[in-house]
């Protein structure tokens, strides 16, 4: 809860299951009816609810549980991190600048069109004057993003895209003012302001795309614990943020929660998914005295544990540090637009200068020469260049989002386009969950009973068993889950157990020495289950697509060799490495980089988050760990792995469109520059050319939306039979 200025308290709940207006209405009504809540407002765009209460001592857990009864998971967003007044300041500033530029552009355009249509003499001069009065404050306000960026670049002795833009706008304005004072015929006010309008729009689109991706990604990230249930000295459990948890404190961790900090269990039994550390997916039991690392997933039981290290020093935090070090390496990638700017800016300036000098030499008329030189600057429309890339990226990101792929920013798309190697992690990336295959007496009675017990547990092995048995479960008299061991129950008066072999062996001798998990009735036959990993749907096709495109595929896995090789064989991947630690994975990627390869790494961040950061470009499924989601450039939210080749194809198409856009911009410049140098460009032509080139570039980018939508064709779906083959 955050305390506001007037003593009221506010908390922000992240509600990822929000889908439509009906949800909004239901939640708002339920929350607003409560007497302890002053007001509750749901934001469907950000998928969160802001709840305001009268006093700071109101406990959010009561409304969180009420919401979960309604069917909506609600997680408190990290209060310390997120600003409850979460305004997108940069975006707002850009919108204001666009509004001012738009106002200026439309009003000046009216006056310019009037002049171009033939208004002459005093009328024209008056209109120029009015345009000047509008243009000066508009450029001063709306041009700031460009002026600031240009000055920053110049201060470090570099040229970026904003330098020629700023120069063009300022010179156009200055020239037009001179013309106005001289009573001249032509003025470029509309060109200057329209230029700003188009470029600001491009910048805003770019920003919007980043914000959307960021909030989508961080929205997912809010699912991970930002706090824990702390057992206070008086015995009461309260939810506190991570920063308030010190070593020595006692916290409670429930089933299906991620361990927030490194702890040691002091009471309770549970099963854990320690793949973050070992990469191994199989659950591991844990009890008194066992250490749990931050980020591992608690599966079945509730435990109370003593905090060993603060959040900053946890295993998870160390991994994230490794990853950010790797990421700085990536910061050296120079985006296409900036590369273009490096060439474009000096060329354009030189041309303008040459034009000026040439005209002065030929005509001796400073004024006309300046006029022509500035028209060269204006006509070499950075519009097309300024829009070429952002527009294509925005359209691409929209398409990708509809395919269920979230993109962090435009440079990721550019990097994905030029990969020549693909590296997959195994567990959680190429594989998805486990299936159970039964061995032993093929007795329907055993199967139905096993299923009945399995349904009582949330343990992944139990779920896999339940899903693999097609028969209906039989009636249970009762059942209890014993965390760390299995499920014990009573069926038709007979005791039955499903779980660890040695524990089941306590009631049935036949279970002894079988591989876990095992089901048996007391003193009856035993049935063992072998858990096999299922391939993620689309995995085979993904590998085949890359192979067909001539891009070698490799697998890096932290799991044991037998399992890794088994999956690799099914997928036809020759280059397999198993038993890799997180450091090993980083080393492998660095080697690839040093050898000149540009690799796409696809992993779920469980033990390869830093590797995701070290790769040239990376993708992670939405089920990835928090670290993985932060490190990856792309996140695919649907189950199928065909998202990977689809994203790659999209990146290639986008790169192609961007190249075309640059081509169009260059072709346009090749026509426009000679015309300008010859002194043939009037403000009317400049405005027309600018608009036309911008619209052309935008139209070309919209081609990315054409219906060659990658449909999930039936052939891509994998059935379990493929795995068991």
């Amino acid at each position: 809860m955050r305390v506001l200025a007037d003593g009221q308290a506010q908390c922000v709940l992240s509600i990822p299951d929000l889908r439509c207006g009906g949800c909004v209405a239901k939640i708002e009504r339920a929350l607003n009816v409560r007497t302890d809540i002053l007001s509750a407002r749901v934001n469907l765009t950000l998928k969160q609810a802001v709840v305001t209460c009268a006093g700071a001592d109101t406990d959010p857990t009561s409304f969180i549980s009420m919401l979960s009864q309604l069917g909506y998971r609600a997680i408190p967003a990290d209060v310390a991190q997120s600003d409850a007044d979460d305004t997108d300041k940069v975006g707002r500033g850009l919108l204001r600048a666009i509004a001012v530029a738009g106002f200026g552009a439309t009003n000046i355009m009216i006056l310019s069109v009037a002049v171009w249509s033939g208004a002459a003499g005093e009328t024209r001069d008056t209109f120029h004057l009015i345009s000047a009065l509008i243009a000066i404050p508009v450029v001063a306000y709306a041009g700031q993003p460009f002026f600031r960026s240009a000055l920053q670049a110049l201060r470090v002795g570099r040229l970026n895209m904003d330098v020629p833009i700023a120069v063009a706008v300022v010179l156009a304005l200055a020239l037009s003012l001179v013309e106005t004072m001289r009573g001249g015929e032509q003025a470029f006010f509309d060109a200057a302001v329209t230029l700003l309008f188009f470029l600001l729009s491009g910048r805003y689109l770019d920003h919007l795309m980043r914000e959307r991706a960021r909030s989508a990604v961080s929205g997912l990230a809010r699912l991970s614990p930002r706090g824990a249930m702390l057992r206070q000295p008086d015995g009461v459990l309260t939810y506190v943020p991570l920063s308030a948890i010190a070593p020595g404190a006692i916290i409670a961790i429930g089933p299906d929660e991620r361990v927030p900090v490194d702890v040691r269990i002091i009471s309770g039994f549970t099963d854990l998914d320690r793949s973050l550390v070992t990469g191994e997916a199989m659950p591991v039991p844990a009890g008194f005295g066992d250490t749990l690392e931050a980020g591992t997933l608690n599966l079945t039981g509730t435990v109370e544990a003593e905090v060993l290290r603060s959040a900053d020093e946890s295993f998870l935090a160390q991994m994230m540090r490794m990853q950010s070090e790797a990421e700085t390496g990536r910061g050296n990638y120079v985006r296409i637009a900036d590369r273009a700017a490096r060439l474009y800016a000096p060329v354009v300036h030189l041309l303008a200068l040459a034009t000026f000098v040439g005209w002065v030499l030929v005509t001796g008329d400073w004024h006309t020469s300046a006029f022509v030189a500035i028209s060269v600057l204006i006509i070499t429309c950075p519009c097309a260049l300024g829009l070429a890339v952002p527009v294509a990226h925005v359209v691409a990101s929209g398409r990708l989002m509809r395919m269920g792929i979230l993109m962090k920013d435009g440079s990721a798309l550019e990097r994905l386009a030029d990969i020549n190697r693909v590296v997959f992690d195994k567990t959680g990336t190429l594989t998805l969950g486990t299936a159970a295959v039964g061995f032993g007496a093929d007795d329907p009675a055993l199967l139905t009973a096993a299923k009945a017990l399995a349904l009582k547990s949330v343990h992944p092995a139990a779920r896999a068993i339940a899903m693999s048995i097609p028969e209906l479960p039989c009636q249970l008299d009762d059942a209890t889950e014993v965390p760390g061991f299995g499920i014990a129950g009573c069926i038709d008066g007979r005791a039955a157990r499903l779980g660890r072999a040695d524990w089941v062996a306590d009631i049935s001798a036949q279970a002894k020495d079988r591989a876990s998990p095992v089901f048996a009735f007391a003193d009856g036959p035993a049935m063992a289950f072998e858990l096999v990993e299922t391939l993620r749907p689309g995995a085979l096709d993904a590998v085949k697509s890359f192979a067909a495109a001539g891009i070698p595929v490799a697998m890096l896995s932290g799991d044991i060799a037998a399992r890794a090789n088994s999956i690799a064989n099914q997928l036809d991947i020759a280059d397999v490495r198993s038993g890799e630690t997180p450091a090993d994975k980083i080393a492998a990627l660095n080697t690839l980089h040093d050898d000149g390869y540009r690799a796409l790494m696809v992993g779920d961040g469980l033990n390869d988050a830093a590797a995701l950061a070290a790769a040239h470009v990376s993708m992670a499924p939405s089920s990835a760990s928090d670290a993985g989601r932060t490190a990856a450039d792309f996140i695919f939210v649907r189950d199928g792995l065909e998202a990977v080749p689809a994203a790659w194809r999209m990146a290639r198409d986008t790169a192609r469109i961007v190249r075309q856009n640059f081509g169009l911009a260059i072709a346009y410049n090749c026509i426009a520059i000679p015309l300008a140098m010859a002194g043939l460009v009037t403000p009317f032509i400049a405005a027309l050319a600018m608009s036309a080139s911008s619209i052309l570039v935008i139209g070309n980018a919209l081609r990315l939306n054409r219906p060659e939508k990658p449909r999930r064709m039936p052939a891509l779906r994998h059935k379990r039979s493929e795995v068991l083959a």
């Binding site: 749901v42 469907l44 509004a99």
Partner: protein, 65 residues
């Protein structure tokens, strides 16, 4: 076309008013949740919401010891 000496300032004023109104709408967070706001008109309950001051008195009355 002397009338434009009259019409153009009027139009510019209207434009300026429009611009300042847009700025106000940005400041008052009118665009923060466009998806949700498009849905709100579809809610079926046909009665006004209680005013903010009314809610405050209800809540404080209830939570007061």
């Amino acid at each position: 076309m002397t009338i434009l000496a009259f019409l153009i300032p009027i139009t510019l004023c209207m434009g300026a008013v429009g611009l300042s109104v847009f700025f106000w709408s940005l400041r008052s967070n009118q665009y923060d949740d466009l998806s949700g706001d498009a849905e709100r008109i579809l809610f079926d309950d046909d009665r006004p919401l209680p005013a903010a001051s009314a809610r405050l008195s209800i809540t404080t009355k209830e939570t007061a010891p």
